[in-house]
Symmetry: C2
Subunit: 199 residues, 2 copies
């Protein structure tokens, strides 16, 4: 036994499975959790438990939700007829933070990835088509990630959505604001040039 407590060893083991947390950080976090205010540690334990036991998925948009539909879907001040399609719930947070979108969301819960065995039926794509039809959607903004999988998903959705008579747009890919052109990769720069606009 490397640690003087089996439970400590198990906690370090569980913590080190989290993304961005290596063995060293896991050990540091575990010792912190041992030393910190007891309520703080128990609160964290309960928060993790609760998020898996009491948080569900909005049946309409696929975002995480505690109510049906979620608070974004039921917000009547949001613009109807325009859907922003993203891969994961975290992407909704990112788009919301930008403050540039006031319509509704549709969370696919992933991206097409044939190599990983993820096909159209594994994503919330059928639900998207249904919403486009039912909610009288006039524009679908494809905001999947600018990665191979995200682009493939956007292409697939574009092909299938245009036939349904809806306008399909894709978020711009270009040099990020504040970045240095010299340090931009060639694919991003090529996209930025292709996507240039009249000033």
């Amino acid at each position: 036994m490397q640690y003087s407590s089996r439970y400590l060893e198990e906690l370090i083991e569980h913590l080190s499975r989290l993304p961005t947390i290596g063995k060293k950080t896991a050990q540091r976090l575990a010792f912190y959790l041992l030393r910190c205010d007891e309520q703080e540690a128990l609160d964290l334990s309960r928060a993790i438990h609760r998020i898996r036991q009491e948080v569900g998925t909005c049946e309409r948009c696929g975002n995480i939700a505690e109510t049906q539909p979620c608070y974004l879907c039921s917000d009547v001040r949001r613009e109807a007829g325009i859907l922003c399609v993203v891969e994961q719930p975290g992407d909704v947070v990112a788009v919301e933070k930008s403050g540039a979108f006031r319509g509704h969301y549709h969370v696919l819960r992933g991206a097409l990835s044939p190599l990983d065995g993820v096909g159209p039926d594994d994503l919330r794509i059928r639900e998207l088509y249904q919403r486009v039809q039912d909610e009288d959607v006039r524009e679908v903004i494809l905001a999947t990630n600018p990665t191979a999988q995200g682009e493939a998903t956007a292409h697939f959705l574009h092909q299938n959505l245009v036939d349904r008579g809806v306008q399909v747009t894709r978020i711009a890919r270009g040099v990020p604001v504040g970045a240095d052109l010299e340090l931009s990769d060639q694919v991003t720069l090529a996209r930025a040039l292709e996507g240039r606009k009249e000033m």
Copy 2:
């Protein structure tokens, strides 16, 4: 509300209180905990809960323990009469990993820090004196951190222990193995020169 779930918001809040975890990483971890295998998340929750509810302190050495005394204190193969004094339980792990010590430990659970209101009575110092007397200790190795607080604690303990007729040693401070002299700070280099030994 920034997130679509109050519970998610609370989890991110709790995670971001952990050391080395900023708001961005906390969000990433929270979304991971939402997405990962449910058992994995619940196991982590239970491991955190358990470490505060079922792991205690060894009454003898002050290390974290599930038994009284802890497995290190009750290990008869370890050398008696030699105590390694450290600040925190994590330091025991570090010394154990070095494989260079086979005696017993004494965990102070902190270091003297008058500015933070931490005096001798706030640490397990009285217990140390008692052990030196009861366990017929011949050497005390002071392995507190090479920081201002750790050095102050070592000085304080040295003054009080020599009167009790015990040999008191301090771990060597010098250039770390594998380091570059050019990049060593001046205090460390001065210590390394002071602490030089015949080859």
